[in-house]
Symmetry: C2
Subunit: 289 residues, 2 copies
């Protein structure tokens, strides 16, 4: 389903609501929609339906001040780590989803797919609602030793509402010292690295500890993004989004965990990622005081 | 987890295997890997482990002739429909994943994300292993009436091993006449449109009927891509990939279906998409003989 439609309607709704007195909504670039449906009214009705007459619930769904999310992008990130959650964040109403990198140079995210940062470490707005770090392999390990990135994360975290990651992204948060004393998770293959970063590793799909929210490998980003959606926009809105992306998963195998996949496959994969894991351990050791 | 690592190792393995007598493997652009790990050997070992001594299984995992997958891209497609399955397809060994469009003009797939076709309707290779159509909203409905697209699909289908779609992508296959007499599925909101296209709609996450494989909305693309991976590269390889992307989903709510989300949310979403559904019904009616 095309949530560009949803986005279009969000803008229309924001404009409609702004016209009725709610201020601060994003009005920019309202696209023309000429399919005969009054999208503004459809979205206003959706907000009415989901907020169920509660002004507090309504303010969560459509905040008067734009929400701000910043997602780190870098060479070697795993595309789905970024693009799964980004799809879900893009559906939040009145929300700016920034892609942030050291420079504004486009980053490749798989063959044929390019991700262009719109802000840099220098220009990223502060007081974020969400700071998000996707995972990867060697590129992520390199980031664990990148002072510019670690400095950026340390600078943003104190004024950020939710400091989050998917997959090995938590190792970068950890290298910045941001998981010291927190329960957290990561991709199963780098699970043990977390302890070296001062975190308490937890085998769970999404781990929430105070304002840190970390997810397991790759696809756990969907679970994290929906959980964050419920924290930011309320449970009803998160449920509507889950229905929108028809997230009623039916994996063809029970192989999404080492236990399910069994020792042969798990050992084979561990061997293949031995270099990444070793690099992560070394980087973790190097960050210790 | 970074499957660029996996890709690097795949290339190294292909080169290593080619050197040992297996021919036809892709050797191009073997990147330098200087992390002290012998990736070629690691991948050869992975293939050994997963094929478990079976030459047939081994040939499925690493075919001697490159596999060919073509994924349609177009304005208004839902980014996750394309990029979830693409991530999984990219991890198949010795496989060319093409992005195909009417022209080679880059297509936006959400703010900051650009998808660049590498082949056009005119230059796309025939005898594909997989032809894939992602879904969307108004953009997908427009495609149901686009003669160039419908002609392309009709031309490719007879020599394609698997004709596939995610979400409303099946409506485009249907408009091309390719689901006539087949069981198929689509996003829950456009479920009834399938019947008007001569298909038998089935409420199932992934529907396989002869060589047609269609998936439900958006996130069902992950289930479809893993199922296809098992058909193409064998069940062990598909399990390894499922472990790689740690696909052990734990949705925060039971809201991924209309039944789970309940009537209030479902009705609200139906209203919001009324224009898309009406457009799809009209397009379906227009394709009937």
């Amino acid at each position: 389903m095309d949530r560009r439609t949803f986005g279009t309607q969000a803008l229309a709704a924001a404009a409609a609501l702004a016209a009725t007195g709610i201020t601060g909504c994003r009005r920019a670039a309202l696209p023309a929609v000429d399919d005969g449906v009054d999208h503004g009214n459809a979205m206003v009705r959706l907000i009415d339906d989901l907020s169920n007459g509660s002004a507090a619930e309504r303010a969560k769904i459509l905040p008067t001040t734009p929400r701000r999310i910043a997602m780190l992008v870098y060479p070697g990130m795993y595309p789905l780590d970024l693009l799964g959650p980004k799809t879900i964040f893009n559906d939040l109403l009145n929300t700016q989803v920034h892609l942030v990198a050291p420079t504004s140079a486009p980053v490749r995210a798989g063959s044929g797919v390019t991700v262009s940062p719109d802000v840099t470490y220098a220009t990223c707005p502060a007081e974020l609602d969400v700071l998000f770090v996707p995972g990867g392999g060697d590129g992520t390990v390199a980031l664990m030793r990148d002072d510019a990135t670690l400095g950026f994360l340390r600078r943003m975290a104190p004024t950020t509402r939710w400091v989050t990651s998917v997959c090995t992204g938590s190792l970068v948060l950890g290298a910045a010292g941001l998981l010291q004393g927190y329960r957290a998770t990561t991709h199963w293959v780098t699970f043990d690295v977390l302890r070296a970063l001062g975190a308490t590793p937890v085998r769970q799909r999404v781990v929430e500890d105070r304002n840190r929210m970390t997810a397991a490998g790759v696809t756990a980003g969907l679970d994290l993004a929906l959980t964050l959606t419920s924290r930011l926009a309320g449970e009803n809105y998160a449920r509507a989004e889950q229905l929108n992306i028809e997230y009623d998963p039916a994996p063809p195998f029970n192989a999404g965990t080492p236990r399910g996949a069994g020792p042969r496959i798990t050992t084979a994969m561990r061997r293949m990622y031995a270099g990444v894991v070793e690099g992560a351990h070394k980087a973790a050791a190097a960050t210790r005081p």
